[in-house]
Symmetry: D2
Subunit: 187 residues, 4 copies
């Protein structure tokens, strides 16, 4: 069975913007035990990344004079009307630890749970940032499973502080995965 | 050792508003496996409840013509200036399940993780809502532990759909708890 | 509504034996991140504590010449036949951490999960041990919830390395808890 | 960088024995909420699978008259002495759910946590069994991460009730993984 191409290949300038958001999100990390802050920025199908109630799409981050909403699946023609802020959404997240270690949560899951709790379940891309200088930060298996609940064919940008990154789909990060449809198979 | 009184006793109209927010949050629950939706609304020290980027403090929910910001620790005199929306924040959450059940998350933790990821760690109260008609919904042990990471002396409103509730502090819900200071005790 | 007395009050020498087992279990802790080893020993209704396939009920731990099986709910008369080893079971556990902190597990849950996976779901008592010299180690909220799945009215012995302890029931540690019966209440 | 071959390719008759153990373990599943029982059998480097204190290596499961201990990395010559039962160990596990779904645990993690709590951290193989007739049961992301804590180069047998299976290494199931060594990289 042929593997579909990733649902969305973001334009370089949009990826860069998503990365900046994930690095920004890292600043909120509550990690007094690991001292290993992680940030994540999640882009929904609607097109923008919000940090809670404040849009992170600051003017100085915009790509070539267009808004992040232009990082769409089908390139907008110049005659397309601008996407309104009210139509778009996304979230950022950070790791939040607990004195009882197993009760902490990762940045990626925080971002996804925020989005779902605000009504968004269609994801276009996620970027992850850490302080590791020489390695790309990759999601843990638990986060991959939570990503997979909402689709297998969307890209995960694993970054370094210098802005370089590698990208893999959820499917590539969690091959032969167990998912929602499997639960029905014994009934 | 005497138990301190709860840091904050909310005024009845403010509690009611918090409850409405938790019921509203329940609508975003992703619970295809349990079919048991839960919502939570978290009030930060700054004074308002936001659902992501949109304030839930809609005009029709305001308490007696005052804003929720008036649900403060120290009653505001009538001559106090109104608290500006930009000074206040809070979040709501819902349960978000996973085909692999252990990877789901509760409404209360979603709300707390959202708040922390947006820079808020001082909590004044949380309300929880479910569809159980005859019982007050109470937080699971994991959520109590996550609440406790950010303080033991704040109230948890456990509600019914009809708006009635019981209230206990985190300390009462998780007595003799293990917490951040314990981790240092063997070092 | 009157609170039932704990289903089981263990005899002092039996508690001491349970404590020794929890301290022994602590030696297997895999805690390279917290450096905070914890052990737990779980006593099933059948009466003994096993560490996996090896009984921990070593001759030098026996209480006053009787086996731990005599730590029964109803004191055995001297004419009662001795309980055979093959009739009894229990488990020990330790904390097992993960580089991704939220994927670790506590000692108490390890012990309970071991017991259930071996067919035992009726618990009589659990003891917890840590290296904290000046404080009794208490279970996290998540562990209290997992204990509660299998009953609210059984004792948790929270110990210090010197063998002193405090004891509370699961019900006392997790008051007003959410449990198995609640899940049915909306259906 | 070349990928090492799996540390251990088990002989077919040994795989079959591991499968039988995982199917047996499934019978202890506590899954009143999902009704989706899963079992797992973990083989340690020492060579046998134990179900708690009772060896699962029953006479009728032995492969061609040899013990499972012969499923060794380097084929034993006929003149090798048989490995003694006392030198070998392993565990089985099942899923154990909770009314608060996120507090459940999977079969694979139960088996691994049992083994670690009994002093075994070198794993040779794990087999997973479910009731899905038409699909191979695969581990969730959280379990893959817990497997990965103890090595990336060991095989996971994903089975069907009819005894057929597919096998992948932990590395293949969790590519580009985050692991113990990464935590040190920012310090
Ligand atoms: Zn993660
Ligand atoms: Zn909870
Ligand atoms: Zn715990
Ligand atoms: Zn799993």
């Amino acid at each position: 069975m042929a593997q579909k191409p990733p649902a969305c290949t973001l334009k370089p300038e949009c990826v860069q913007q998503l990365l900046v958001c994930s690095q920004e999100a890292k600043k909120s990390a509550y990690c007094p035990y690991s001292h290993f802050p992680v940030g994540a920025a999640l882009l929904t199908q609607e097109g923008r990344i919000f940090k809670g109630r404040v849009s992170l799409c600051r003017p100085d981050w915009k790509c070539s004079g267009t808004s992040l909403a232009h990082c769409s699946l089908k390139p907008l023609s110049s005659s397309d009307p601008p996407v309104l802020a009210s139509q778009v959404a996304g979230t950022t997240g950070c790791n939040i630890e607990n004195a009882c270690y197993p009760l902490g949560i990762c940045a990626e899951r925080t971002a996804i749970q925020k989005a779902v709790s605000e009504g968004y379940k269609d994801f276009r891309a996620i970027a992850i940032a850490s302080d590791m200088q020489d390695d790309f930060i990759s999601p843990c298996g638990a986060c991959r499973q939570v990503m997979r609940e909402f689709g297998t064919n969307w890209p995960v940008y694993m970054t370094k502080p210098d802005g370089t990154f590698i990208v893999m789909t959820v499917q590539e990060l969690l091959p032969s995965s167990f998912g929602p449809e499997d639960l029905q198979k014994t009934q």
